[in-house]
């Protein structure tokens, strides 16, 4: 292990005892810090947290996500955002302020089954997350392929300062849009490079707990390209 304080844990495991601050995915009970998920525990300064290895996506304001239109009613679209909540994209976000339910047809812009790059504009626990596509680089996706990974593995796919994703992109010349919700859009020049890219992504997903993963992915990609 690269750090002896990183330990594999399952729910209920006591990570440490004493006056620590309970950070993510842990609870404090009778002075014991207990993991609530399967993951890798980390103790740093006075904090204890667990990096989870599974779990759904919880929306956060400003997150970039990929959404799929699943229905539209008169004033908004409903999006599957691979979360416990549906996203809702109001019509005026697309049509502008002078949107008219009478003259503007929602299906002229987005249809059921369309994928969009979007951002979480607002979210609190009482309402479904509000989505926006009104920004540069957001909106309907016209090419590429949707790839799904566990949302908990997204940080690993990106890597420290983006090193992991850059490793893949430079090896296969892929363009990858990463949604924080675990949905990715991968575009490549041809099917062969696309498969190679997806293989590398899946490798990171299944082996995210392994140390020195960036190097291992790099050597895998190099040997693949060499074939």
């Amino acid at each position: 292990m690269e750090n002896d304080k990183r330990v594999y844990v399952t729910p209920g495991d006591v990570i440490t005892t004493g006056p620590y601050r309970a950070d993510q995915n842990v609870i404090c009970q009778n002075n014991k810090i207990i993991s609530t998920v399967v993951g890798i525990s980390e103790i740093y300064d006075n904090n204890v947290k667990v990096i989870p290895l599974s779990g759904i996506y919880m929306p956060k304001v400003n997150d970039l996500i990929i959404g799929k239109v699943i229905s539209h009613i008169s004033l908004s679209w409903e999006l599957d955002i691979n979360s416990c909540y549906s996203g809702f994209l109001p019509a005026h976000d697309v049509f502008g302020r002078d949107f008219s339910a009478h003259s503007d047809e929602l299906s002229s812009r987005l249809n059921i089954g369309d994928l969009v790059t979007a951002k979480i504009a607002n979210f609190d626990k009482n309402r479904d997350p509000l989505i926006t596509i009104a920004d540069r680089d957001l909106g309907k996706i016209n090419s590429g392929e949707l790839v799904e990974i566990s949302p908990s593995k997204v940080p690993r796919l990106i890597g420290k300062r983006g090193t992991m994703i850059q490793t893949i992109e430079s090896a296969t010349h892929a363009s990858i849009i990463i949604g924080q919700n675990g949905w990715l859009i991968v575009s490549c020049k041809n099917q062969k490079l696309l498969s190679k890219t997806i293989d590398a992504i899946k490798m990171i997903e299944t082996q995210s707990h392994v140390a020195d993963l960036t190097d291992k992915v790099k050597s895998k990609l190099e040997s693949d390209v060499g074939e």
């Binding site: 590429g144 392929e145 949707l146």
Partner: protein, 269 residues
């Protein structure tokens, strides 16, 4: 169950067909690879777990004495059911079976019944009073399209691998004779072949993604003689006469290959 497939994937599937390719790189007439395990449920008289691609089904056979149907006093009973377990897919809700599942169970039932796979006349203990019932129940544990063929193969393999217990009548009541088992009277082995029709292309054994894109489907069940014994057209689209002719040729050509696989699980005398 309606799953919305994303447009990029749908376009890719339909685009590939033009180049005679499929999304999972199979040929048009190529069913997915299949694994079958029998005797997975020891408490059943016969059982089979099948994986057709990622679609997986467990079929269990229960054989027990029963009263005959009033109009069929000289025949044993055969009943086939199916349930898509709610753990098989996020869109399945628990509760009484919906129309899709009832159709599924009836098509599988029809394939076995209409081919006369089981010689029900040999399952009579006393005419009009007491017969043997064969119940085949399919539990679908993972959905990835084409449940029809998966359930049909699972049911068939489970029946072929079943032992038939013996009952004798004592005071008109059937009593099980311990440790006396025979083989089920089998006359033929049905093979179900389901074809999806997408933009006028015919593909065998559509997976879930293709299933969501198809206009119509045809399930054809043939017997060991290569005759067509049962049919079901499904889906909201329509089919032409020429397509139907092509479908029958496909079903008849694939039949023997699948039948050979299923036959391996038949108990010899």
């Amino acid at each position: 169950m309606t799953t919305i497939i994303d447009d990029l994937k749908k376009n890719k599937i339909l685009g590939l067909l033009k180049n005679e390719k499929r999304i999972d790189s199979r040929g048009f007439l190529e069913p997915r690879s299949m694994t079958i395990d029998i005797d997975v449920i020891q408490k059943a008289n016969g059982s089979a777990r099948i994986e057709l691609g990622n679609t997986s089904v467990i079929a269990g056979v229960k054989i027990q004495p029963d009263k005959p149907f009033p109009d069929l006093g000289d025949k044993g009973i055969f009943i086939c059911t199916a349930e898509i377990l709610p753990l098989a897919h996020p869109d399945i809700e628990p509760g009484p079976p919906g129309e899709d599942v009832i159709e599924l169970a009836r098509v599988v039932d029809r394939g076995i019944r209409e081919t006369s796979m089981l010689d029900l006349s040999k399952l009579v203990l006393e005419k009009n009073k007491s017969v043997i019932g064969i119940f085949v129940d399919n539990s679908i544990t993972n959905c990835d399209g084409n449940l029809f063929d998966a359930c049909s193969y699972a049911s068939t393999a489970a029946i072929l691998s079943s032992n038939l217990p013996t009952w004798k009548l004592e005071n008109e009541q059937p009593v099980l004779v311990e440790d006396q088992e025979s083989i089920i009277p089998i006359t033929t082995i049905p093979v179900s072949v389901t074809m999806g029709i997408l933009n006028d292309y015919i593909v065998v054994d559509p997976n879930a993604d293709e299933w969501e894109c198809m206009d119509a489907r045809i399930t054809m069940i043939t017997n060991s003689d290569g005759n067509i014994c049962a049919l079901q057209k499904g889906g909201s689209g329509s089919v032409t006469y020429d397509q139907l002719k092509e479908c029958s040729q496909i079903a008849i050509s694939i039949g023997p290959k699948i039948r050979k696989i299923l036959k391996q699980y038949q108990i010899d005398n």
